[in-house]
Amino acid sequence: MGEAIAFYTLAALILGFAVLVVSAKSTVHSVLFLVLTFLFVAALYVTLQAEFLAVIQVLVYAGGIVVLYLFVVMLVNLKRQPETHADPHRRSRLGLALSGLVLAELAAIAMYGSASSPAASGAASAPEVTAMGGNVEQVGWLLYTDYLIPFELASMLLLVAMIGAIVLAKREL
């Protein structure tokens, strides 16, 4: 009962702030609403007993990535471009079509996909996780045994991105 209240409140807040991200007039405001969305997503992780993931969400997403977004947005003074098309409703019709497609995809997943999802078979309940040593140990164990190759590939990806950024931004090497 309490979980349902927590979930619906958090979900409403997350969706509300996400809508404000795309509809805010000032770009800095929309970045700030993005931060709030991430913080409430972290709260949602806490209700799912994944406290390690919640803290990492705040640390990496809200505390690192969005700070960099904010730097860029503040230094590049963005203003909303005035509409120059002949048909002013073109953008909203395109948006409506795309969201209809996404909705159809979600409905298809909900109807056909839930029976064979891997999450239902592999998830452990909270007391089991704590008995096995807690969130951090379990995530670390999985990362370094079952998911080692994706982990290493992700770190290579970050390295390549860093090198690319340095090459793009350098004056002389």
Binding site: L32, V35, F52, V55, I56, L59, G63, G134
Partner: protein, 339 residues
Amino acid sequence: MIETLVIPLIKIVIVLNAVLVSVTYMVLLERKVIAWVQVRLGPMRVGPYGVLQPVADAIKLMIKEDITPTRADRWVFTAAPIIVMVPALIVFAVIPFGSEVELFGRTIPLYITDINVGLLYIVSVASIGVYGIILAGWSSNSKYPLLASLRASAQLISYEVAVTMTLVSLVLMGGTLSMVGFVHAQHEAGVWFLFAQPVAFVVFFIGGLAETNRAPFDMPEAEQELTGGFHTEYSGMRFALFFLAEYANMIVVSAVGVTLFLGGWLRPFANVGALAFLDLVPSWIWFLGKTFVFLYVFLWIRATLPRYRYDQLMRLGWKVLIPIAIANVVVTGALRVLL
């Protein structure tokens, strides 16, 4: 019901009040210590030996006119001091002030809560505090605060990396992420992690100085540099919030350093039975004493060392501290596996 709601609420009230009062008296202590280092007396007029000076400061700040620049972004301008203050205060939820105390027939642990990712919680909440500084400078709609806030936030996120790497090597030593677990780990190991990880302690201390914008890393708020830094346009109580948040951050860094490196609430030589008479001193007094020593070194360094120039500061963070911290992690990991 009482265990889960009333007792934590009482602890929260006590901790918040204690923190806010200590923060105001830290201001006085800083002025006194710097004065004594400079062979003068500091505030002496208000109350005996200047003891009531924080009261005078608080009254002054509260009755000052609250100015918002006309073209400033009003919501963000108001929110920025709050965003700086809140992380500094909520970190105290996981700091262990002492072991346990017997009151009214209950055994009450002297920490508000002990989450099993306590150390990560502290680091992540500290990284939220950077937003307040960025937004304060941007929302003031004025050149100098914007530049100062960009400098300050760049400094903060750079030194955050160094501090987090030292915490990684500490986690390797302690085997746990919970703050109470760290104290227990130091008790079992029989040695304070200060002696097991001296390099990590030095990097943590320097990084802590930079994280709290304290001298010699206080370029972002030095008056001689960018007028008043990122809080130029703030006056009265809003400025007081920034000020208080900085000192609260200092207390946080000291408390975290004491818990991780100096054994938390343990008495010196906690495993030596012959010194058991030292147990007469309660655990929280040991904790407060060690935190006070840490804080005093912060003030001492401010009174003594000259300020770093901004490029020297960034060079120190990225080219010196981060490689040292990473090397420390590698060496610690190798030794933990081999020994």
